[in-house]
């Protein structure tokens, strides 16, 4: 049985699909790496409107009961 050689158009289409696939995987990897870097750096995760929330600040003195 003789197979016909595929048309050149399929090669171009494949190159496009492969390129987009690699780019997407690369983008996801970069997002993951960026997230890891930003989260592990220790910037305050909760600090809305330039006001620190008491729950996020370390406890420096004992809370006295009334």
């Amino acid at each position: 049985m003789v197979f016909k050689a595929p048309h050149e158009i399929y090669r171009r289409r494949f190159s496009r699909n492969l390129g987009v696939g690699i780019l997407l995987v690369g983008f996801v990897a970069l997002m993951f790496a960026l997230t890891v870097v930003k989260v592990t750096r220790g910037d305050p995760l909760k600090g809305f409107d330039h006001t620190m929330e008491p729950v996020t600040t370390p406890l420096t003195q004992k809370v006295t009961q009334p």
């Binding site: 289409r13 190159s15 492969l18 390129g19 987009v20 970069l30 790496a33 960026l34 890891v36 870097v37």
Partner: protein
């Protein structure tokens, strides 16, 4: 039979055609200058953030390249140098280039913001706007000063790189911008001198067409002379040092010598040796920018060993 039917439909571009749409050669210059701007900044950036920043600056430059190719497809089809670009060659439809350009513009600006800071992202957005709208749509076909104004877009990357690291613009960033801004006119006008038929055919008001070639030669010399103090000043700031200053003096001396050579020649002499001097100065101008920015980088490396800097 199905193959024949497929050929009659819309063009089927390969991945390389899209890459070509982003002007990879311009992108390589953008990557290099932005990287220098980022690395010579006094604030270190995490390698992953730095990589992301350079990537998205390059992507923004590519986006403006795609928008430029979409708008200038009619000019590109006429000029010998550009007629094999994807749109005039019929490999990609104009609308597709517009879509890609707009999408990549948005992605690059937002991602640069997330990766670094909003000032850098705003500068990148302005650069894309400046190149695609102000230069390509506005001034390129209107004024022979198009190269001067368009050069500003190409001058922004090192400033964006600096801002990615520091979060603000400073004199060093402005001077790196100014070096590329002043370098662009002599670089492109030297090219225009030996590519004359092309711009003339396309009707783009290049200085060579509107003011004549003698005036263009004088302009090359004027801008090259104006470039000298900018480079020397940059070498005297915090990103410079004795090494950078020495490199700047040597490079500018050679560049000015080349510009004087171009200025002294006339068309008869140039035609006789097929624009040998103009071509030599054009090639040197590329090397000039590479070495000038490379010197900043080496100076920064020396500083980390306690050797360079003032």
């Amino acid at each position: 039979m199905a193959d024949i039917a497929l050929n009659d439909t819309a063009p089927e571009p390969g991945f390389g055609d899209y890459v070509q749409l982003l002007k990879p050669r311009v992108m390589s210059l953008v990557v290099f200058t932005a990287l220098v701007g980022l690395l010579v900044a006094p604030v270190p950036l995490h390698p992953v953030e730095a990589f992301a920043a350079i990537l998205f600056i390059a992507l923004g430059a590519g986006a403006s390249g795609a928008l430029n190719m979409w708008w200038d497809a009619d000019i590109d089809a006429v000029m010998k140098r550009t007629m094999s670009r994807p749109i005039p060659a019929g490999r990609i439809e104009g609308g597709e280039a517009l879509g890609l350009g707009l999408a990549l513009s948005g992605i690059s600006v937002v991602m640069l913001w997330l990766a670094t800071n909003w000032v850098a992202a705003a500068l990148l957005a302005f650069t894309i706007f400046f190149y695609a709208v102000v230069y390509s749509m506005g001034l390129k076909r209107l004024t022979p000063q198009n190269i001067v104004i368009g050069g500003a877009a190409g001058a922004f990357p090192p400033m964006i790189g600096w801002v990615c690291a520091t979060g603000s613009v400073s004199i060093e960033a402005v001077l790196m911008f100014a070096i590329i801004f002043m370098w662009t006119p002599p670089h492109f006008w030297a090219l225009a001198l030996f590519m004359k038929e092309d711009y003339h055919k396309a009707g783009v008001p290049m200085l060579t067409v509107t003011h004549g070639r003698k005036s263009t030669r004088a302009h090359i010399l004027a801008y090259t002379l104006a470039l000298v103090p900018v480079c020397i000043w940059a070498a005297l700031t915090s990103i410079g040092g004795p090494f950078t200053l020495a490199v700047a003096v040597v490079l500018n001396a050679i560049f000015v010598k080349g510009a004087v050579d171009i200025w002294r020649r006339d068309e008869v002499v140039s035609e006789a040796d097929k624009y040998a001097v103009e071509k030599r100065v054009f090639r040197f101008s590329l090397l000039y920018l590479f070495l000038q920015f490379g010197a900043f980088l080496i100076e920064a490396a020396l500083k980390s060993y306690g050797l360079g800097g003032w």
